[in-house]
Symmetry: none
Subunit: 427 residues, 2 copies
């Protein structure tokens, strides 16, 4: 999953203003095999701003160790982002560690205490005294407003470093990042950088790698390939002395990749395959219904994750039992008896049946053996039959998927969405 | 998500030999959202040996920053494990950083150089001079044999810290760990440890925190609370001089928590709420159907993530459009017209309608405004109506959920599963 290839300029290039350090605070991040997902997210967002992460530290709730990590961060970085340890309980020590690390004094913002008290009262929660700790900050710092949760973030500049303390709860961290912190960091990196992520379906990492080999040599361009569940992403970073140079390099690389990847390229940056299919549905004025057996609703879940999906998605049937395949999705019971639930015939029956029942233009049917049980020699775990019906055409295909129950189901959903997308592209 | 509380003994309790620091070296680990999987693996292996990771640092290929991380590690840890930066290329700097950090001198092991040269010759690879760098180590260090790859690991004791340098390639690191390093660390911590995770629904972190306050003082017990999307987890680590002491402390803590949390406790370790509800369905001999609007199939997806769910889950309807709420889920169109799609009446109609259509014992209906669009003053984003029908009883409830589209939908699914579970518990 994490294979990659990079041009060597990545490590040589070091202009001022673009070095970041991240600190994640929380004993739980160290003890339970948990992944610091905040750090991954922040790294990607900093990259968009042209800022490289040079050091990431995960540290437990110990004030001395947090303070040491803070000092190391200020020594090595222009931007230091700390997540976690801002809550009200006694082991939330990030504020105190900041003060200790840099000889600052914490003062309590009584106006903020009153606002917090008011918010708790509104929601009918008791306000315990320790909650007021969340209103402590050094006098030289500013608040970063938290619209999602209680504890605000803290921002200050110390020596030449911009320091932000953010809550560890991802939704709160992200909200503060987007609304309060990103604007303060924009334009900080001296070298211009433009980045893009291209999202690819239906290709392996090695096939793309071979095809774009010459692009690895392009000046000021860094390419990394990452493979996910069905999806492949091509990450591009173009650098230049001036923004227009970086922009031109990126545009040129994107153009060349777009040509070579053709219909396998389904989107850029945060695009999802469901979003790409949905946009094509919207453009074509068609709508869709689904009938899912082994995926149990995950295809519908992926489609409805797209805001505005009600314009082109009608819904459908979770046809998990054979009974509901007949009753709600309109599959012919004779087909079920003759071919079994996991069969091309039943996939076709689900697709055309739900299309008819829902009065939709297009219908998708999925039926398979997700495992771990239920496999036979003839129909092993990982066998999934899919069908797409509508537009005067009906097609069926099947997959033999590796991996566990979760992987089989997610890859089946990906395949359904990609086939739908390609069908719509051909129109 | 990462709020937490721990008994103060966590930071005070410091028997010698049980504190570890990890350092992962490599610029590539800091770019593009890559996860340091070695660190996760090593953390888990150290836990088995009774050793806690107190600090994890990921640092780029910069000799100064690596050396600083090494010094911080020795200052805070009894065991310091470094992965990466041991290869032959110029940006592999771990050996040099170790020497610089502690004032040691690197000497080349010429016998090892000859062995490496022989291995390359055997495989028909050219042996470039820079390969010989892999035979450099401080005189006070030992080699850790690498049976999988080329570069051996390095082991030394500096001040009171045991330091291991391991290759970053996971297969090589793991092989050296198992064969060479784990034997050197076994018995170091001098304590036995047992762990468990309890999963809780329907409680806030602070309410549990207050209720179990006295348990934080229990001898040899460490408690951490973590809040997720609806769920709260209580992580327990019990320690003792002997394994039976740790086991007895864990059992006692689990018993006390089980009593106090009552029906709010839904499972242990990897249990899911859907799995807990499913088990109760199976025990009661009842089955379930669902009709989902705003969650679009995610409830079905969660239920069918449980292996064997076909025994108690029939499926249902993704009633995303109003048309399908009527056509497939059997909602009375007059109710829709009178109250709107997001209403208690329609939630009830979905639950009872899908139950009747599917011939199921129980039915769940969900309808809400997931956002970001579609909210009004009367029905804002985050408003979700749910209903549970069957067993001679019908109940409806609603939620006003914070967060983005994804968070609203996931919390709605969690609430539906938890209400189902509680209904089944009451039987």
């Amino acid at each position: 999953m994490f294979g990659g290839k990079q041009s060597p300029m990545n490590s040589r290039h070091n202009p001022s203003g673009n070095r970041a350090a991240l600190i994640a605070v929380g004993s739980e991040l160290l003890s339970l095999g948990r992944v610091d997902t905040n750090g991954v997210w922040i790294t990607e967002r900093l990259q968009r701003l042209g800022i490289d992460v040079r050091m990431r530290t995960i540290v437990d709730d110990d004030e001395v160790r947090i303070a040491q990590a803070l000092r190391a961060g200020v020594e090595h970085a222009d931007v230091l982002v700390v997540t976690g340890g801002l809550g009200p309980t006694d082991d939330d020590r990030t504020r105190e560690s900041l003060a200790a690390a840099f000889g600052l004094e914490l003062t309590r913002d009584e106006a903020l205490v009153e606002r917090l008290r008011g918010r708790f009262a509104e929601r009918g929660y008791p306000f315990h005294d320790e909650q007021a700790r969340q209103a402590d900050k050094p006098a030289s710092a500013e608040w970063l407003r938290n619209r999602v949760g209680v504890a605000p973030g803290v921002y200050l500049e110390h020596e030449a470093t911009r320091i932000a303390l953010l809550p560890g709860v991802p939704a709160e961290m992200k909200s503060i990042w987007e609304e309060e912190l990103a604007p303060r960091l924009t334009g900080l990196a001296g070298v211009a950088r433009r980045t893009a992520t291209l999202r690819v379906a239906g290709r392996t990492e090695s096939s793309v790698d071979r095809e774009i080999g010459d692009l690895y040599e392009a000046e000021g361009l860094e390419i990394t390939l990452l493979a996910g569940a069905g999806e492949l992403t091509v990450h591009l970073i173009a650098r230049g002395a001036a923004d227009e140079v970086a922009a031109q390099r990126l545009a040129s690389a994107k153009q060349r990749l777009t040509q070579r990847l053709g219909a396998d390229l389904f989107g850029e940056d945060d695009a999802s395959l469901a979003g790409a299919a949905g946009r094509l549905l919207a453009e074509s004025g068609l709508d869709l219904a689904v009938a899912e057996s082994c995926t149990g609703g995950l295809l519908g879940g992926a489609l409805t994750a797209v805001p505005g999906s009600s314009a082109w998605f009608k819904g459908g049937v979770i046809a998990y039992s054979n009974e509901l395949k007949v009753l709600l999705a309109g599959v012919d019971p004779d087909l079920l008896a003759a071919h079994g639930a996991v069969s091309e015939e039943v996939a076709r029956g689900l697709a055309s049946g739900v299309r008819a029942r829902a009065g939709a233009d297009l219908g998708i049917g999925i039926t398979g053996v997700a495992g771990p049980g239920g496999g036979t020699a003839e129909k092993p775990v990982g066998l999934v039959h899919l069908a797409l019906s509508g537009g005067g055409e009906e097609e069926a295909w099947h997959l033999n998927l590796p991996g566990d129950r979760d992987a089989v189901r997610r890859r089946a959903v990906f395949s359904a969405l990609d086939r739908l997308r390609r069908r719509l592209l051909q129109r």
